[in-house]
Symmetry: C2
Subunit: 187 residues, 2 copies
């Protein structure tokens, strides 16, 4: 497996509003740095980059359009020629032109990064796989937040992240590390 | 909230093949009994029942059509007039007529049961919510299997089940118990 012209890097919801205390405690503080390195290598290889922005319709969300939190983090600032999709639900395939764009570009292989491991990235990964795309997740380029179960059981962000990837790996995606993705880029 | 004519009970992949050792160790041995009670109450209320069957296309899967494992477990044997969808991926909304059926019947509220908490039930729940359905999950009517992370970390079926529900609750579904669903059935 080598990532090439039929591959796209999809950057999901890497927005400033996720730094807000609204979301609670996050894992993987190295996510932004790892994404920066992967994105630089991906751009150097000249492959397709897709930015997905969450335009929240929930009152109180730091991700609503018009709030500073809606902006992308600087590490993923889009460049000219890179594709942008905006969404208002978790899946980047619902209410967007993402699938049509990928089919038109003959892209069949996706590498997904961003926030959060168990909500928008997981949902987009599941749909991508079920729609027939080959899907890869660099674990060190994802993160999530602490959750509390319906039964009151507290879950750390790291355990939610790790258990989510255990459910996704092999069934919906191949989980790896970003340095492995970079090694597999077409030179 | 009361479940009524705009509600459907969706029974996902409750098939004999999930008793095969192929899948490893499962949690919630009471799942079948709980589903039996909920299904009896739902049928007594005269509400819509939808059966989803996984027709696997993977060689070696006990769920392939033509194998005894493809059959439904007896507790959910379909009755005349109940709707059946077959699928070959995790989401019951991809490659099926499920969404069209629900829209035609003006059903906007779903209660999902079955296997597995983190694969097919989770994926179907996520898509249901993102497509705009009000979605409920009775935790005691779901189950899953032990998983191993990409990093080799072992996860028990119970912890995968519980962490999956922590990620779904509030974002994609309201998690509750089957006895609460039964109490909310239109009398």
């Amino acid at each position: 497996m080598i990532f090439g012209d039929s591959s796209a890097l999809i950057l999901i919801d890497i927005q400033q509003g996720f730094d807000d205390a609204y979301w609670g405690k996050r894992n993987n503080p190295d996510m932004e740095g790892n994404i920066g390195l992967l994105l630089a290598a991906w751009r150097h290889a000249g492959l397709c980059v897709i930015h997905v922005r969450h335009d929240s319709v929930e009152s109180g969300s730091p991700l609503r359009p018009g709030q500073p939190g809606n902006d992308f983090k600087s590490v993923v600032s889009p460049r000219r020629g890179e594709h942008l999709e905006s969404k208002s639900v978790n899946s980047a395939f619902i209410g967007t032109g993402l699938e049509d764009f990928l089919r038109a570009k003959k892209i069949d292989t996706l590498v997904l990064c961003g926030l959060t491991s168990d909500h928008c990235v997981s949902t987009t990964t599941r749909m991508a796989a079920n729609l027939g795309f080959k899907t890869f997740l660099p674990a060190d380029c994802l993160a999530t937040f602490d959750r509390v179960g319906y039964d009151g059981r507290p879950w750390s962000a790291e355990d939610i992240h790790s258990s989510s990837l255990a459910s996704l790996n092999g069934e919906f995606a191949t989980v790896m590390l970003s340095e492995q993705v970079i090694e597999m880029l077409l030179k």
